[in-house]
Subunit: 442 residues, 2 copies
């Protein structure tokens, strides 16, 4: 009997847990679900047979290793900084290791040892990274097999709200880690366009947007996300003239978010010294020049000349012009902003989220340059069974299932970019409604 160990029973693990727990009996497996919060782990397992909740204290090395020693395969849904710690344990104890997170340098340093011990470590097998790689590689491999050449590949993804839940001017609520949303983009983004390397610093990022359209859903802002250049090698597209990976927000979001970036409200590098009882208005004013005569609103318009009404409305809706007390006055600007937003952008029980992803290809074929767009839209059911949890958890769950069934013969440190891995995963995802719609034109 094979034992699967899932570390972390949080929001994004819901579908992962269900998928693997439901097949335990049929496939003769045992599932251990470990979390700091034992009650949460128990609730998620719903007394399904062959499953067991256990307490996880990541700091307690001995008990952590004793837990990992019981498993054949470990799935880490913990915060990303813990992955190398768990990976190291798995390497020592000879266990396979799966995550939906970015492959880190720390993992890459273990690559040869993973390989030599005959283990399989699969990262980036969630949504983004994950489904994006798999669905893109399918198109790239198909084109290459026909002798076609990829001229341009732009890929965008966003975790947003289902249109029916877009009930604020930002059309945004937190469906994902709020801190990551507040700090998003705080490193110079890099991509290549028509053979020219392009670098976009944080304070330009939310101005350098493209409009991305989804049939029936309207317009989105797409901004360049991190280092797109490094993916040229992963995708076997070393010579591609144009490649960009981007993040999606609803149209208009970036222009308003950029105001916060420009003023310095997303700065996480120092501790503010706000007076106790400071208000939203004072928080904003701390980033505006002093003036004898101008109001906060007037100073803002001076500093941000492109401030239009839809942008002003978004800031107003967050309460920035009010003398309301801040929920938090100590910390970095980003921490204080996050505390504000966690109130305003909290997902309500009736809210539904939405995942949107779009690949845009330009492919040189025998007949001319073909444009191909492949789009995915997935809507959440409620605030627990979210599209985010589904699209992050299912690919990982399916990968684990296929590996234990012997249908993936993985070895070493891998990403889901080979046909052997992505073909059966994409097929199974389709059965769960995660399906790309392709459009092609010349």
């Amino acid at each position: 009997m094979k034992t699967i160990l899932i570390l972390g029973a949080g929001k994004s693990s819901t579908y992962l847990i269900d998928y693997l727990a439901d097949s335990c009996i049929e496939k003769g497996r045992k599932l251990l679900l470990a979390d700091l919060d034992l009650a949460l782990a128990n609730a998620k397992l719903k007394d399904k047979p062959n499953t067991q909740a256990v307490v996880l204290d990541t700091e307690a090395k001995e008990s952590r290793k004793a837990l990992i020693a019981q498993a054949d395969l470990v799935i880490s849904m913990l915060p990303a900084f813990l992955h190398p710690v768990i990976a190291k344990d798995c390497l020592e104890l000879g266990k396979h290791f799966f995550t939906a997170s970015y492959e880190s340098d720390a993992l890459r340093e273990m690559a040869s040892e993973i390989e030599s011990k005959g283990l399989f470590f699969l990262n980036e097998c969630g949504l983004d990274p994950g489904i994006d790689h798999m669905s893109a590689m399918k198109i790239i491999h198909e084109a290459k097999s026909k002798g076609e050449k990829i001229l341009s590949f732009k890929s965008y993804c966003g975790g947003l709200l289902s249109p029916e839940s877009e009930d604020n001017p930002w059309k945004y609520k937190f469906t994902w880690n709020p801190r990551n949303v507040v700090l998003a983009g705080q490193a110079t983004s890099r991509f290549i366009e028509k053979g020219e390397l392009k670098y976009v610093p944080y304070h330009q990022l939310f101005k350098r947007i493209e409009t991305i359209k989804f049939p029936g859903l309207g317009d989105f802002d797409g901004y360049p996300n991190r280092d797109s250049l490094s993916y040229r090698k992963v995708y076997g597209l070393e010579e591609i003239p144009t490649m960009l990976r981007g993040t999606l927000r609803r149209a208009g979001f970036c222009k308003a978010w950029n105001v916060l970036v420009q003023l310095g409200l997303t700065d996480d590098s120092f501790q503010m010294q706000l007076p106790q009882g400071a208000t939203y208005r004072q928080f904003l004013n701390a980033f505006l020049p002093w003036s004898e005569t101008l109001s906060v609103e007037e100073k803002l318009s001076e500093i941000i000349p492109e401030l239009d009404f839809p942008t002003f409305e978004k800031l107003q809706w967050l309460g920035f012009f009010e003398n309301r007390k801040l929920p938090k006055t100590e910390g970095s600007p980003a921490q204080i902003l996050q505390a504000m937003l966690e109130k305003d952008w909290e997902l309500q029980p009736e809210d539904k989220d939405m995942i949107v992803m779009q690949h845009q290809f330009e492919i040189k074929t025998e007949k001319g340059i073909k444009k191909l767009t492949s789009s995915l839209v997935d809507l959440g059911k409620d605030c627990v069974y979210t599209a985010m949890a589904k699209t992050v958890g299912l690919p990982l769950a399916i990968a684990v299932d296929l590996f234990l069934e012997g249908k993936i013969h993985g070895k070493g440190l891998q990403l889901p970019v080979s046909s052997e891995i992505y073909t059966p995963i994409l097929k199974e995802l389709e059965k769960h409604g995660i399906r790309f719609i392709e459009e092609e034109w010349m």
Copy 2:
């Protein structure tokens, strides 16, 4: 016979060395000058009696400590990151320690031990920090002694060119560490204005300027420098409503420098991947959007709507629009920019530099609110006897002399903010032409 050890014989040590070397015989002292470059140290000492050049390898702990053991007092003119290392040695060996650099947290951690060993460690005794503290404290103490209240204190300083050497559109050349100039301001600046704490992020810094006037010299841009808030305590002005420390550039410099900041050319956080043989124009273009039809110049005007002719001219003068090869193509944008600027902004042998400093006070007196401006202008003689070397080195040299003469009874970790220290130093500086001009009006 007391022995003084100066570590570092570089550019900014010239006046310091001369001042202390010239009085060795008269005052019965010995001067050791240590540098990695023995020939340089010998050249600076000019065979003056009672002086000796020695080789310094800061990495070689034993020889470094043997050298320090020979001295009674150590002056570190080394790069700032080395000060704590030398300070630690001095603490162990029971030697007094002087620098013109900012007092660091590492030094503060040694404070009680310095005190208990009866040693004197004086930092921030150069120009800025240094002369700024001393000249300001004189005014602050005078006002306080009359029962007056300081309402506002803004202090600006700049290391620039003497007007006759302002022969490029930037009116700037490197008279100081080029890397520090390129990275200047890359942390959120903080100050207080009319009781409101103000935070200015890097990408706003060069827009938030004030015009500072020096009689007979014309206009300068002043931008807020680092953390002005922490100096409230140092100056005994905890309750002051307005306090700002700023850096001066020639009028128009900041607007043009801001273009480089906005585009990301001063970014030091990642390595660029420029093609070999890349040109100035390609370097600039890497930070501009791709366009089928627009030129680099046109794209720049789109991204920077406020680009005016004087700003364009400055960028053009640096060669940004030319197909000239870059002197360096590997490194961060800031490193590549620095390599460019080191060619264009190199101080020529005939060039003279200039130090400008201005304190602006608003003081509540019995008769009403008094405005007081205290300004210092010092011009260099040539590219060796610079105003920078003079204003950095002389205060430090004088402090050391006074201490060895027993005229300063310092003990512990100090800044030159007490009357016992600054009064005799300012008096001696006047003899060397470093003199503030005060203007007062109601």
